[in-house]
């Protein structure tokens, strides 16, 4: 494992997490959360946990985002914080 790649992806993960909880549009949160999950999946693949990374790519970045968008579609998109 090369530590520069690890550090760069980890920084991206933290940025995505902060952005996901601070944007005021829930659809934006859904997309940023999908990006966060995918970055996390990359991090796990770098660490050698291929099974877990595969699961996260299909579950976290795929189906979770779809559930999120479906829930936002049926509720409101705006939020105060």
């Amino acid at each position: 494992m090369h530590w520069p790649i690890d550090l760069i992806v980890l920084t991206f993960v933290i940025f995505c997490a902060i952005a996901a909880i601070s944007v005021k549009d829930l659809l934006g949160t859904a997309i940023l959360f999908g990006a966060y999950s995918f970055m996390m999946c990359l991090l796990w693949a770098i660490m050698g946990a291929v099974d877990v990374a595969f699961t996260e790519a299909s579950v976290g970045a795929g189906v979770s985002t779809v559930f999120f968008v479906a829930a936002v579609f049926r509720t409101s998109r705006r939020t105060k914080d």
């Binding site: 494992m1 530590w3 690890d6 550090l7 980890l10 993960v13 933290i14 997490a17 902060i18 996901a20 909880i21 829930l26 949160t29 959360f33 966060y36 999950s37 996390m40 991090l43 796990w44 660490m47 050698g48 946990a49 291929v50 099974d51 877990v52 699961t55 996260e56 579950v59 976290g60 189906v63 979770s64 559930f67 999120f68 479906a70 829930a71 936002v72 049926r74 509720t75 409101s76 939020t79 105060k80 914080d81």
Partner: protein, 131 residues
């Protein structure tokens, strides 16, 4: 300075995991919107999963998939050559349970919105005290 650098290289991953975990915890405590709280919970979960997986990592080791020799000649498997598979198994189950809880949380959010027409915590509390 010379003995600080190895410490940073050995531990910076753990520090960043703690920061990530705290972002999730802050979202769960301070955010007003219920869906934002669920996102915070998911960030917390993934940070813990990340921490577990990093415990299983070994230097100079390969993926936990054994190269099987041809029939009859099975090589001796050395534990030091493979990454610890046990955290992977535990966290695989954790991820799948997390998507189940996420789905149920979204269903609850839709149900709350149907009844109260809001997902903001303070407005919800107001509506509940009116009843």
């Amino acid at each position: 300075m010379t003995d600080l650098l190895p410490l940073i290289v050995a531990k910076y991953n753990y520090w960043l995991y703690v920061i990530l975990m705290m972002i999730g915890l802050y979202a769960m405590i301070a955010k007003n919107n219920l869906i934002k709280k669920v996102v915070g919970m998911n960030i917390f979960q993934t940070a813990i999963i990340l921490f577990y997986l990093s415990i299983g990592y070994k230097k100079d080791a390969t993926l936990p998939i054994v190269e099987v020799g041809h029939e009859g000649q099975e090589a001796v498997v050395r534990a030091l050559d493979y990454i610890n598979p046990l955290p992977h198994v535990l966290m695989l189950t954790a991820i799948v349970v997390s998507v189940a809880t996420f789905g149920v949380a979204m269903a609850l959010a839709v149900r709350i919105y149907q009844r109260y027409q809001t997902l903001e915590e303070d407005e919800l509390r107001m509506r509940l005290s009116e009843e």
